[in-house]
Symmetry: C2
Subunit: 248 residues, 2 copies
């Protein structure tokens, strides 16, 4: 009887050349490239389970996936080298470990951390194209901070999700939102037990609207107090978003 | 009589899409794009004088150029906005000032600072492609430091230049070489009164050879003591190099 083992992969990617994490008909999802790399190595299909989807253009410092492979076929460093040899340079397996059969990249995750980068200056810096959101208007740091504070804690985030599945539980707990500014570069880190579809981009878009004076913090309070009644129709662009960490 | 004024431009660019700073027959030098932007605005050709050439793939945080334009035609911020509106996103004029007629971007410069970035890990990080030199072998920090120390001060760098002009003065003074390491990222900053053609890349290439144990520091001493007799045949790739500052 053939025996299997489960590998946990930590994956970094530049989101620009790909159609997001998830497998696509055009076979240009990051997941597709991983499946193809495994197929090249094993000559048979495998299922690559990711911790969660990232949209087209969203980057990852440490996406996580698991996959079942024939037991002890290769050493871990051989797996890493073989996978990276078959992947485009914009995707790299940066860690590879063995995990028990109960580990699941998505369902075992207890939290996620994302970082959003904003280039807040008259012009977008050439070395920041595709790496950050360019906002030319000045942003009020106090308004940004109080908008962010509204989201911290446990809330029903139905108004801050593009998902339309009705039965879904849309309550999440945000542990912290860390805001840092170094001259033109504004960095916002979001940590939560999980995020709904497009949620980080909608939180960020809403915070930016408040910081630029076009919406009030009370508008955020209303959206949170009547979940799903109205959507926060401001979605920050994908290129500023980075999946930083999946917590298990 | 038409009067002119001299503008000093500070320019940032991502080196990847261009054929280097200098005008090319393919019109894809950064200089070409600037000349075209001025032509679009003024409907006549101007000469764009740069502080120095950068090779294809080399980036700039602050290249400097000067140009003569009709006196007081536009406010400085209008010049910046108009130029940037006609430039590709990978080139941005980040500062624009008026200077006296004696100022020359190249000849008035008294020094330059470059930064070189090395990604020193088994695999090149996806978000570092085109932004750093990937070196997989481990680098000895002490050897790197002592190789760098050999270059500091005033030397004839003829062995560390790709230039073939015989009569050229190849003596330069290096003020400092600053080495910093943060996990996988190694950053080396070079400051000098000037650099010969490809000199920073050849210094960096030679330092890396010593740090990886393939050359001794005595090899550097020999190249410095017999200038031009032999060339240091190791040129670090352009994508790790950034023009950080021109000093006037």
């Amino acid at each position: 009887m053939e025996r299997f083992e489960r590998l946990k992969l930590t994956i970094a990617y530049d989101g620009r050349p790909f159609s997001g994490w998830q497998s696509q008909l055009n076979r240009n999802g990051v997941q597709d490239h991983l499946k193809e790399a495994f197929f090249e190595i094993l000559s048979r299909p495998v299922i690559v389970h990711g911790a969660g989807r990232t949209d087209a253009g969203v980057h990852a410092f440490a996406q996580v996936a698991h996959v079942e492979v024939p037991n002890r076929k290769y050493a871990l460093r051989t797996w890493m080298a073989a996978l990276n040899a078959h992947l485009p340079g914009e995707i790299r397996v940066i860690k590879c470990g063995r995990v028990h059969g109960g580990f699941h990249a998505q369902y075992s995750a207890v939290g996620k951390v994302y970082t959003y980068r904003i280039w807040n200056d008259t012009f977008h810096h050439p070395l920041e194209l595709g790496r950050s959101w360019h906002i030319a208007q000045s942003l009020d740091p106090n308004a940004l901070r109080s908008a962010g504070d509204r989201f911290i804690g446990t809330h029903d985030f139905a108004s801050f999700s593009a998902n339309r599945r009705v039965a879904e539980n849309t309550t999440r707990t945000i542990y912290y939102i860390r805001i840092q500014r170094r001259t033109e570069l504004l960095t916002v880190q979001f940590a939560a037990n999980g995020f709904l579809y497009r949620m980080v981009r909608m939180l960020m878009g809403s915070m930016a609207k408040v910081a630029s004076g076009r919406k009030s913090v009370e508008w955020i309070d209303r959206l949170l107090s009547e979940p799903g009644k109205q959507k926060a129709n401001f979605t920050a662009p994908p290129e500023g978003l980075y999946l930083l960490k999946v917590i298990y």
